[in-house]
């Protein structure tokens, strides 16, 4: 499974890690839904750390779609909301 962390690149993550990552992902999602800024920062950092630890970076010249995409490490809760609402944050 390929996961992209925005502004960092893509990582190949074994499928066996998915359950644990999904749990951390739910934590980020809950924080976004409830507007818990501190909780969001902590949960996102935890999720990204876990993905980095479990994954191996893809070579720069690989042209593969990611299965999952994660916000950049320094994203604010508002930025993530905007990304999810697709209100023009992603160019193109």
């Amino acid at each position: 499974m390929i996961i992209r962390i925005l502004a960092e690149g893509q990582l190949e993550v074994p499928d066996s890690e998915l359950a644990a990552l999904n749990e951390l992902d739910a934590g980020v999602e809950n924080a976004v839904e409830s507007g818990d800024v501190d909780g969001f920062t902590e949960a996102l950092a935890g999720l990204l750390t876990a993905v980095r630890a479990a994954g191996t970076p893809l070579p720069d010249d690989s042209l593969e779609d990611s299965d999952l995409i994660l916000p950049p490490a320094d994203a604010t809760i508002d930025e993530v909301r905007a990304l999810l609402n697709d209100d023009g944050l992603i160019p193109g």
């Binding site: 999904n22 992902d25 995409i69 950049p72």
Partner: protein
């Protein structure tokens, strides 16, 4: 649905809408390649812009640190002249500057981080664009329009996503840089106005300097006078001995030059 899944779906829908536009699918390859090259140069410009902002902040840090050092020297000088009040004033102003310097250093680190991220992003994008170009040429050479479409989808995967990612990174870097440039502009104005020379009382000018200068110019005059007195009493004897010999040729040359001057004038 999970956050990760939702974000990837949004990226994918963007990529697909970009691809649907062309009639001959092979044309989309060239179109996309042109956009990739365009984006690549945009990222490089972004790196240069962030670097410029970082250098500007670095310069400001250097200016403020020089000002801090000047205030420390002033405090030392004031103390050595027994003016504790002036020394205290100088140190108060210095501590006001320290906050500004800390703030600027944090900005500098942030800009440095953005610069590094964008540099890496441009390296990644460049590698992918190269890779895409190779695939594009192969597809155009080996497949008819009808055959090409699945191959083209393969070639597009990854690159559109990367373009979305890089485009976003450039936009975020631009936003951050713009915010910092506004603050940097304000600090440039403060430095230019001289207000930071005198952080505790704007527009009064650098009065510590003035007072110390006045005090030290008084004492400089005194000490120079003392040195001169000491010098003249010590050197007067040999000077008077030499003067006996030296006056004669000096007078001679003066007399000789008189007629020459007149010739020159006429």
């Amino acid at each position: 649905m999970s956050l990760m899944k939702r974000m990837s779906l949004i990226f994918r829908s963007k990529a697909n809408s970009a691809m649907d536009r062309a009639e001959d699918p092979r044309e989309t390859l060239d179109y996309s390649y042109a956009r990739q090259v365009e984006l690549l140069s945009k990222v490089r410009r972004g790196v240069a812009d962030v670097a410029t902002s970082r250098k500007r902040v670095e310069l400001q840090v250097a200016q403020l640190v020089a000002q801090e050092n000047k205030l420390t020297e002033q405090a030392q000088k004031a103390l050595s002249m027994g003016r504790e009040d002036l020394a205290r004033e100088a140190l108060t102003r210095k501590s006001a500057l320290a906050g500004q310097v800390g703030d600027l250093r944090a900005q500098q680190a942030q800009l440095q981080g953005e610069e590094e991220k964008l540099t890496l992003a441009s390296q990644r994008l460049q590698a992918k664009v190269e890779s895409f170009r190779t695939k594009k040429e192969t597809i155009k050479a080996s497949y008819t329009a009808a055959e090409a479409s699945t191959r083209i989808n393969e070639a597009f995967s990854g690159i559109s996503e990367e373009m979305g990612d890089v485009g976003l990174a450039v936009q975020r870097a631009e936003d951050k840089t713009a915010q910092m440039q506004a603050r940097a502009g304000a600090i440039d104005e403060l430095i230019a106005s001289g207000a930071l020379d005198d952080a505790s009382s704007i527009n009064r000018g650098d009065d510590i300097s003035r007072e110390l200068d006045a005090m030290s110019s008084d004492s400089d005059v005194e000490s120079e006078l003392a040195a001169l007195k000491a010098g003249t009493s010590g050197q007067s004897a040999p000077q008077s001995i030499e003067s006996g010999d030296s006056t004669a040729p000096a007078e001679l040359t003066a007399e000789q030059s008189e007629p020459q001057k007149q010739e020159g004038q006429s």
